[in-house]
């Protein structure tokens, strides 16, 4: 169907529209799990600090 890579990228003159649509979807769909992962790591870090702080509290009381 495509005779050359450049023909593929030109998309029969619709390059701007086709690639803007697919590109926006790709950016959003890749960014979303990345952002969630960062948030998950931040929660784990905070929980670890809390657990550690509690342990120190207990040890200093003993």
């Amino acid at each position: 169907m495509w005779n050359s890579p450049s023909e593929f990228f030109v998309m029969g003159g619709y390059a701007l529209y086709v690639w803007s649509s697919f590109g926006a979807c790709a950016v959003v769909l890749l960014l979303e799990p990345f952002v969630i992962r960062m948030r998950h790591k931040a929660v784990i870090r905070r929980l670890k600090q809390q657990v550690l702080a509690e342990r120190f509290d207990k040890e200093s009381r003993e």
């Binding site: 998309m11 086709v18 649509s21 979807c25 979303e32 799990p33 969630i36 929980l47 657990v51």
Partner: protein, 258 residues
């Protein structure tokens, strides 16, 4: 006597669904399911993109520009489907007072909002070359825009209420009332004579498109479906940790303890 025994053994094979409604049992299960859904997303995504760009023939009227359909239709379907699932979870949370159901609703809202945004975005980039305009106040476009606002309203309302259980209840009512909009979007092209074309795929008649185009679209829909499940499971796990931070089982988790 034997009858009674029989009953009790079959009974023990039933899945205890209420067990899974507890965040502490669901958290590790969700963690194991996430990679499965990512693999499925990749398989359907690669197959779908390959059919979209290398198998589906060029359109007689719209040339190569029609290929936007392979993302536009899946994101639009998902934006509506996610809303219905979100409203259902929110409703279950409201009726049975189950925390996890409300967390599922909360986890689905951002991904649904992104799908609605992408539906409008890809629609604009399709409308410009084919209709000559980025936007018209057509029934389908307007109702899809309202869907985006409903998602954003749900997120904003929940964020504005400090107590999470009260936030869940207020959000659930908004989500359930807003569900009226979904059939309006779906049937808008039938009820009003608008610029947006009619349904490409219908349950009652043969699809008005080439077989390979249909296959490409269905593969892309499956990819987005698996993606949504994977991402919402990831988000619900984060929400569980945030909300249950003070419970013992969270403190006992391996990733927290060490």
């Amino acid at each position: 006597m034997s009858k009674v025994n029989n009953f009790s053994t079959t009974n023990s094979h039933w899945i205890n669904w209420f067990k899974w409604s507890s965040p502490s049992t669901f958290y590790p299960v969700a963690g194991k399911l996430i990679p499965v859904f990512w693999i499925l997303t990749a398989i359907f995504g690669i197959a779908g993109l390959w059919v979209s760009f290398f198998v589906a023939p060029v359109d007689a009227v719209q040339g190569q520009g029609y290929r936007i359909i392979f993302v536009h239709v899946p994101v639009s379907w998902m934006s509506m489907l996610i809303y219905l699932v979100m409203a259902a979870w929110a409703g279950i949370g409201l009726i049975f007072n189950t925390r996890l159901s409300s967390m599922m609703a909360q986890a689905l809202a951002p991904i649904g909002a992104w799908m609605a945004f992408l539906s409008l975005w890809t629609g604009a980039f399709w409308g410009k070359p084919m209709w000559g305009t980025w936007w018209v106040w057509d029934a389908r476009l307007t109702s899809e825009l309202i869907l985006l606002f409903l998602y954003l309203g749900f997120i904003a309302l929940q964020a504005s209420i400090e107590n999470p259980r009260r936030a869940d209840k207020a959000g659930a009512i908004l989500a359930l009332v807003g569900a009226v909009n979904v059939p309006i979007i779906y049937f808008s092209v039938k009820w009003w004579n608008t610029l947006h074309q009619g349904a490409s795929v219908s349950l009652t008649k043969a699809p008005a498109m080439a077989q390979t185009m249909l296959w490409g679209m269905l593969l892309m829909v499956l990819c987005f479906w698996m993606y949504t499940i994977a991402v919402s499971l990831m988000r619900v796990r984060t929400l569980i940790l945030e909300r249950e931070a003070h419970s013992d089982w969270v403190r006992q988790l391996n990733e927290v303890k060490q």
